[in-house]
């Protein structure tokens, strides 16, 4: 018998599973846990992606028994995973769920956590998920550090921490957060989650660009006219006013999600698909973005939604929303024109826009190519030739479309644009996993490729913070 590798995995078209793991969720009674994390764990269990020994320890301020936490798990599956009644997989998963109530600044909480983790033998890996307000990150990480719950000192077993966005509110606070995390954790232990990177279509950007021979040769300033990255939501601020008032579209969407997407489009080819290679090339791309200043030249546009009608229902304007200041200057729409100072992209504008209460919910990347240098059909088909367009639909209806010109059927030579479509939902006989499934699993496997590195976060804030400062100086919207 050969030692080392698992001989039974040979020939099985399955992915490796993580080592025995305990997942500790801080903020276990919160919305993110119910909506995303617990359903994602269930789907991973169904797909046999969780390790053979796996447990979940929920930590939050609310008093709750283990059984109540398990019931919350079943309730969340009912509401967000369409599982009307517990099945065998969810019941087995729930049996290994525990709950600890306590204040995040109470050292006793961490001793109780240690006891629960060691109950039945310490697992090889412990993944801490900070699904808590950013203001408490420091307290929790500090206590975990002091209690040596994140120490990896024996060469076996790993300790990792997933940090939810926002990673700071500006450059200074992001740097402070990184400093604090690095006091107790090595960068390799920190997994800054940006759920956009867990989306199949976003990951597919790398495959699309670097696993096909036909796109990369034209992926540059010679052939591309401009790039548009759009994240439009139909909903308003809903119940998030208290958060959104201090954030706005630029912090909420652009600084993290859309900058990640921009980097994936603009990056140079990595020499290998490894976390550090990919993240090195992404930071290179981001560093090439020229400073954005709202100097009145139209490079930055901001706006707020007003009152109106959506699907036959009257909806309030942003300033009339509950929890929003009457004279709020928080932007619910922002558009940026970015220039990248690089050999590949010099002179190609990248337009980024994000907004709430837009007519259509869509997140898409549109890459518009230059028109042909000569319109040879202009005499027989006077309508101008539409430029080729490559559209990557991130959500909903994930897929890729290419627009090109075709001859209209008929005796005359007439041109019309047509679309060639690839849709994930129909092309593959398997479901698209939720972003949190992918990211939770990657964190357990120790693969940081789809997580934000500290330098990326800071470089992104370095671009965005001057815009906020300029807005703060100008006052009114």
């Amino acid at each position: 018998m050969p030692s080392g590798a698992n001989p039974l995995l040979d020939g099985l078209r399955i992915e490796p599973t993580p080592e025995p793991t305990a997942l500790v969720i801080f903020g276990a009674s919160g919305d993110l846990t119910r909506r995303k994390l617990l359903p994602a764990l269930y789907q991973l269990a169904r797909g046999q992606r969780l390790p053979a020994r796996f447990s979940v320890i929920g930590v939050a301020r609310s008093a709750m028994s283990d059984d109540a936490f398990r019931q919350q798990f079943h309730d969340s599956l009912k509401e967000f995973a369409g599982l009307a009644n517990p099945d065998e997989v969810s019941t087995a998963l729930a049996a290994n769920m525990h709950y600890i109530a306590g204040e995040m600044d109470d050292a006793g909480l961490y001793e109780r956590l240690r006891a629960t983790l060691n109950d039945g033998g310490a697992p090889d890996g412990i993944l801490y998920y900070l699904a808590i307000p950013p203001a408490v990150y420091g307290t929790v990480v500090e206590h975990l550090g002091r209690a040596r719950l994140v120490t990896q000192d024996d060469g076996h077993g790993w300790r990792r921490v997933i940090v939810e966005k926002p990673f700071g509110t500006d450059l200074e606070s992001a740097r402070a957060l990184n400093r604090l995390l690095h006091q107790h954790l090595d960068e390799s232990q920190i997994f800054r989650i940006d759920h956009y990177l867990g989306k199949e279509t976003v990951q597919n950007l790398l495959v699309f660009r670097f696993a096909n021979g036909m796109f990369e040769p034209v992926w540059n300033r010679r052939y591309i006219d401009h790039v548009q990255i759009t994240a439009a939501e139909t909903v308003g601020v809903e119940r998030r006013a208290s958060y959104y008032e201090g954030a706005g579209a630029l912090r909420d969407m652009v600084q993290n999600h859309l900058m990640q997407v921009l980097a994936l489009i603009a990056m140079e080819p990595p020499i290998a698909f490894s976390a550090e290679n990919v993240r090195d090339r992404k930071i290179d791309a981001l560093m090439s973005v020229q400073p954005v200043l709202d100097g009145g030249d139209g490079s930055v546009v901001r706006a707020q939604y007003g009152a109106g009608w959506v699907n036959g229902t009257e909806v309030p304007g942003y300033r009339e929303e509950e929890g929003v200041a009457q004279r709020s200057t928080t932007e619910t729409f922002v558009a940026l024109r970015l220039q990248l100072d690089s050999w590949r992209w010099a002179g190609v504008p990248f337009y980024i826009r994000s907004g709430k209460r837009m007519p259509k919910r869509t997140t898409e990347i549109a890459i518009q190519f230059r028109r042909p240098p000569l319109h040879i059909f202009k005499k027989i088909s006077p309508t101008s030739v539409a430029p080729n367009l490559l559209v990557v639909n991130v959500q909903p209806d994930e897929g890729i479309s290419i627009r090109f010109e075709a001859k209209l059927p008929g005796s005359r030579m007439q041109l019309a644009p047509v679309m060639m479509n690839f849709r994930y939902g129909s092309a593959f006989a398997r479901g698209v996993p939720e972003a949190y499934e992918t990211l939770l699993l990657d964190a357990m496997l120790g693969d940081p490729t789809l997580f934000a590195r500290h330098d990326f976060v800071e470089a992104s804030w370095a671009l965005i913070t001057p815009v906020h400062e300029a807005w703060a100086a100008s006052g009114a919207m």
């Binding site: 018998m1 099985l12 169904r46 997989v89 087995a92 006989a429």
Partner: protein, 281 residues
């Protein structure tokens, strides 16, 4: 003039189904259920005719009663060179199988009594990617067991197993499973292999019911749960652990969707099949 919108499907393969007429209908249904994974189906049942009429539908050609000696000619002329050809063998003469194996990019065996096909199969290994549909039906069972071997104490004990017991509704699937373990774990004949055959029950059809692996200090079981839709994989001994995994729907359509995603030879299957032929029920 109005144009009806036609659903377009991109063909990814030609699937040649050969078998008795009563086994072609569900195969055709499974291929149709693949939806947008477009396949071009050629359905042939054996008979005594040299040129029986072919029934041509949108995505399928059906020929009933073709004499075995003409089978390879028919397939050679109907397959498209631009598409890979998957031969789904649901029964017929051994000679026809030999002929078709030379035309297939992938050969999927799917017969109730596989002895003859299995005996011939090693001869095809160098020409085409061979599998048995039982192998796909065993995927969840194999995955569940393989994941337990991710536990270091289990992996370290892999050479110390002394007994494998399998309760099965399909004895040949059990042989294949045992052959897989024997080849992957390099067992010698001192590991006892016991296969007991039972009637399948419940709405979920699975080839196996229970698998038990015993070592002096470790006991592993894979047990189909009462409802039949899930599998409990348990380790006891050095490291106690249980995980529950769904068995999947196991429909012909989902099995074929899986098969169509594979183009390459499967060394684990080839070795398992070779070993399986040495294991008696």
């Amino acid at each position: 003039m109005t144009h009806e919108k036609v659903d377009t499907r991109v063909f990814t393969a030609t699937v040649v189904v050969v078998g008795p007429q009563d086994r072609l209908a569900d195969a055709a249904g499974a291929l149709e259920a693949l939806g947008e994974i477009g396949v071009r189906a050629i359905l042939i049942s054996e008979g005594e005719h040299s040129s029986p009429p072919a029934r041509v539908a949108e995505n399928a050609i059906t020929i009933n009663g073709l004499a075995p000696r003409f089978l390879n000619n028919a397939v050679a002329s109907l397959r498209l060179s631009s598409l890979p050809a998957l031969v789904w063998w649901r029964g017929g003469s051994g000679e026809a199988l030999d002929d078709l194996a030379t035309l297939a990019d992938r050969l999927v065996l799917d017969v109730d009594a596989p002895e003859e096909a299995w005996r011939r199969a090693p001869g095809y290994f160098e020409q085409t990617a061979v599998t048995d549909l039982r192998w796909s039906r065993l995927t969840r069972w194999r995955s569940a067991l393989a994941h337990l071997f991710d536990l270091p104490p289990v992996l370290e004990s892999a050479s110390s197993f002394r007994r494998l017991a399998i309760d099965a509704s399909d004895p040949h699937a059990a042989r294949l499973f045992a052959g897989w373990l024997r080849s992957r774990l390099r067992w010698t004949s001192d590991v006892a292999i016991e296969i007991a055959v039972h009637e399948a029950g419940g709405k979920h059809v699975s080839p196996l019911m229970k698998v038990t692996l015993e070592a002096p200090n470790l006991w592993i079981s894979l047990d189909r749960k009462a409802g039949g839709g899930c599998l409990a994989a348990t380790v006891e001994g050095l490291d106690a652990s249980t995980r529950i995994v769904p068995l999947g729907d196991g429909s012909l359509a989902s099995l074929m969707a899986e098969e169509l995603g594979v183009r390459t030879r499967d060394a684990a299957f080839e070795q398992a099949l070779t070993m399986a032929q040495e294991i008696a029920v």
